[in-house]
Symmetry: C2
Subunit: 259 residues, 2 copies
């Protein structure tokens, strides 16, 4: 059975791509077959695995436009058990180009269902989303079984969650009844900041055990790893950040797959 996890937050720069790459890599190291899908036109996930296609080449854009299947587009990464369906800047136009397409929010789900029936089916698909709640992010929410929300413990975190939960509820009601909120990942965390501690207390009051542990503390190695086309597990395998992502990935899989 293929499980699909969407990593989403319309707030920018909260660690979506960082969480996507490292949670997927940790689960690949634990023996799962994992496919990353880059739905962000910035293509940062693709770049951080050194897999950004040339303009016009097969990519997530050509999957959504119906030209290629996911099996055509997915390619191995440097890591055993981890593949990526990469994107490039062609995806920038998708929002407007798809505006008139019938069932425009269902295109990714259609492509993933086709993949699930093929020999290339992975155990887990992880979707990296752009910082918005537009058509690309909605495609992720419709296709997903679970949603993981990275956030920074800053003033705007709670207000953003209210809007996101409202969108989740509408997607669940109209398009994807089995969609579940797996949890919130508190990233870029620094315990010295009073503001962070206050926001965390409020998040716990609102969301209880949906606030996943451990938090991901600020660690410059997480920001450096992508420039070497590595995940934290190759770049700094013994770092606190590697330990945090291993523990988070295990917890996410437990909640998503019930194992």
């Amino acid at each position: 059975r293929v499980r699909t996890l969407a990593i989403i937050n319309q707030k920018g720069g909260v660690g979506k791509t960082t969480t996507c790459a490292n949670v997927a890599a940790a689960l690949a190291e634990a023996g799962r077959r994992v496919l990353l899908v880059d739905l962000d036109p910035q293509a940062h996930l693709s770049i951080s695995f050194d897999r950004m296609p040339e303009p016009g080449d097969p990519s997530v854009y050509t999957v959504l436009s119906g030209e290629h299947s996911l099996a055509d587009v997915m390619q191995p990464t440097h890591k055993e058990g981890l593949w990526i369906a990469p994107t490039n800047l062609d995806l920038t136009g998708a929002e407007t180009e798809l505006a008139g397409e019938i069932g425009r929010e269902l295109l990714l789900r259609e492509a993933l269902r086709k993949l699930a029936r093929s020999d290339d089916a992975p155990d887990l698909v992880v979707l990296d989303c752009p910082p918005s709640l537009g058509t690309l992010s909605l495609n992720a929410l419709v296709a997903a079984d679970g949603v993981l929300v990275p956030l920074q413990a800053e003033f705007f975190a709670l207000q953003g969650m209210a809007q996101l939960l409202d969108v989740l509820e509408r997607v669940q009601r109209r398009l994807n009844p089995s969609l579940e909120l797996v949890g919130l990942v508190v990233g870029l965390f620094s315990s010295q900041r009073n503001l962070s501690r206050e926001v965390v207390a409020e998040l716990r009051a609102h969301f209880g055990d949906l606030v996943l542990e451990p938090f991901v503390r600020v660690n410059v190695r997480l920001a450096e790893a992508p420039s070497h086309a590595q995940t934290i597990f190759e770049y700094a395998p013994d770092s606190g950040a590697a330990g945090e992502f291993r523990a988070l990935a295990a917890e996410v899989w437990r909640r998503l797959a019930g194992e």
Copy 2:
């Protein structure tokens, strides 16, 4: 004469809203009449001035849909000489709703030209953009005289700039020939990080004196001020961050207005 400055970067979380609020506030303190326009459906700029309208109320959304003028929507902030045209979540649907509108990228310019002819005309309009290069950001680029690009000195900064410059060039060629790149603002800066110093060296090699000084160093007070509905100039007027934004604002005005 009204000058318009767009603050833009499709990369999320790089300090766009923080730069917008504090550069505008610094210039208001220096005696200019400044109007902020919140083009981000997250409405963080509006929230950080405690001016987010109720759903359905006049907002930037109703300006773009033609229901209200900017003069109808703009309201004073707590700061002398600083107004805001706020937004709310109604703006989330604009990307798709405007997809079929004739001249959809010119709607804001039309509204600003009308304001410039009225008694409410400010000296400067500052536009906060969402983390994307879609219809809302294109409206800002078409309406603007100058563009200010906040960025973080991280691995992805340079790659993002290439895409942004490509979009700027097309906007200049087809819709706004007088649009100029005013400069790059390096924010969330921390000189201890090797990565930051490497990226800054590369930015200087590519962009020369478009890299504005001073850099904005990491300072938790910048993240705390919005939760008190204050700019850095009320929250921590003697902080390094306040000094950095005063100096940046003066430099931005010098380049934009030639004074």
